[in-house]
Symmetry: C2
Subunit: 229 residues, 2 copies
DNA sequence: TTAAATATATGACAATTGTCAGGTTTATTA
DNA sequence: TAATAAACCTGACAATTGTCATATATTTAA
């Protein structure tokens, strides 16, 4: 369970790959592995983080709750992604909560190691920067989608996003199963609206469902819908 | 007009302050100063940028246009901010257009200098990282606002944002004057809805107007509205 | 200065989306 | 396994927001 970071394949996918052997050794010696069950929180908005969390297995939602009970999922983080980095770098408390949407395995890495490495290893800093630049672009795209696309279009995009990023099983259902409420929080709509759209898409043959599971039945038509046809 | 970066006060506000004297000298020797009139584009979405733009004077909107003609302003950039950094770092073409919303003065800095400095000066990389972390947080907040707040609430926030960031003149009108269309593109709504809300706010004494100019008349009530009262 | 273009404004209406209320199904746990 | 809780679903309706049409004001340019 708690193996050496130097040998961890996950590292290939994130900024830790720019660390030197010695740096990785330090990380490995001070990291703490954790397992989380679906629904458990890794951290909650407003908390001060003492480090970052590297996702080894499973998927987490990064979301923000408002006073009126609405909840917006800003992005999903999975294998290879590092959560809490933004807050640690900006030396702020997190603006987002991280909650497991599937069983997870994460490694906690103390912030001192991260900031020391940032200060001394430009390769690492640039690598982190690239990842952050990517996240920023994605965030910009989400903003634009929220304002320029209808709920239906955003739902269609959510399904295709999940297929692209997490794949589908042998029966053609999305590997990552989200609750209807999670979908509504990704898309930014009421759960009822979300459910209605799922029903409609199913009726029209765009998707198929089996219990909670959702599969893409007609990708072409979903794409057309997103484009506005 | 075209002074030395080493002496530029603007630098204090952005990541260039982490550059060494020699690095700044290089920047200064290769930078190109430009003046832009309100409405002119600094760059357009999809373009490959050969460098970044440091804002010395004026304000620019960073926005994205969709096929159906809708336009979303993702953020505003003003004195001290560096535009195009994200694209240069990620080595992608820009996802956003930058258009002057007031007369501007910007300095173009070739990307080679930026990436060389990133690779060799960890202080600079970390400083850029901090700025990007800040932008990312702001982007997350915008996503949440778009999904959790009504158009009225977002309009109220836009007015307070402009007051906070650009101040007001001696008559109590916002220093930065945006067109109604710009407002609608910031808030993510139809221009007609935007105008209607401005009329309503005016009628209720929350704001005052004088031609294009808008002033905040009752900050308390605007805040209450944002909070949901 | 006048004409044209652009920005602002408002009404009428339609479409989208949210809310509430009540169901049914599915999952959890005692 | 039965009881309970949670998630899913649907209808009816209301609120919000967008669209189209049109009028007026303001700016720009001939």
């Amino acid at each position: 369970m708690s193996s050496r970071c130097e040998n961890c394949i996950i590292r290939q996918f994130n900024s830790l790959r720019a660390m030197s052997k010695e740096e990785l050794k330090k990380v490995s010696d001070s990291k703490i592995s954790k397992t989380l069950k679906k629904g458990e929180a890794i951290f909650k908005e407003g908390e001060k983080l003492d480090g970052v969390f590297c996702v080894r297995e499973g998927v987490s939602k990064l979301s923000k709750l408002s006073e009126n009970g609405k909840n917006q999922i800003v992005r999903l983080a999975s294998k290879g992604e590092v959560m809490g980095q933004r807050a640690v770098i900006a030396e702020e408390s997190t603006n987002l909560s991280a909650i497991a949407v599937s069983d997870m395995e994460v490694c906690f890495i103390p912030k001192e190691i991260i900031s020391n490495t940032l200060d001394t290893n430009p390769n690492f800093a640039v690598e982190v920067l690239r990842h952050m630049a990517h996240d920023l672009r994605e965030a910009d795209d989400v903003i634009v989608n929220m304002s320029q696309k209808t709920v239906k279009q955003r739902m269609a995009e959510a399904f295709l996003y999940l297929k692209k990023n997490y794949g589908e099983d042998t029966d053609g259902f999305l590997t990552l199963t989200l609750s209807r409420e999670d979908y509504s929080n990704v898309v930014g709509t009421a759960t009822e609206s979300c459910i209605r759209i799922i029903s409609e898409f199913k009726k029209k043959g765009l998707i198929k469902t089996s219990g909670k599971k959702i599969g893409i039945a007609d990708e072409r038509k979903l794409l057309d819908l997103i484009e506005g046809f």
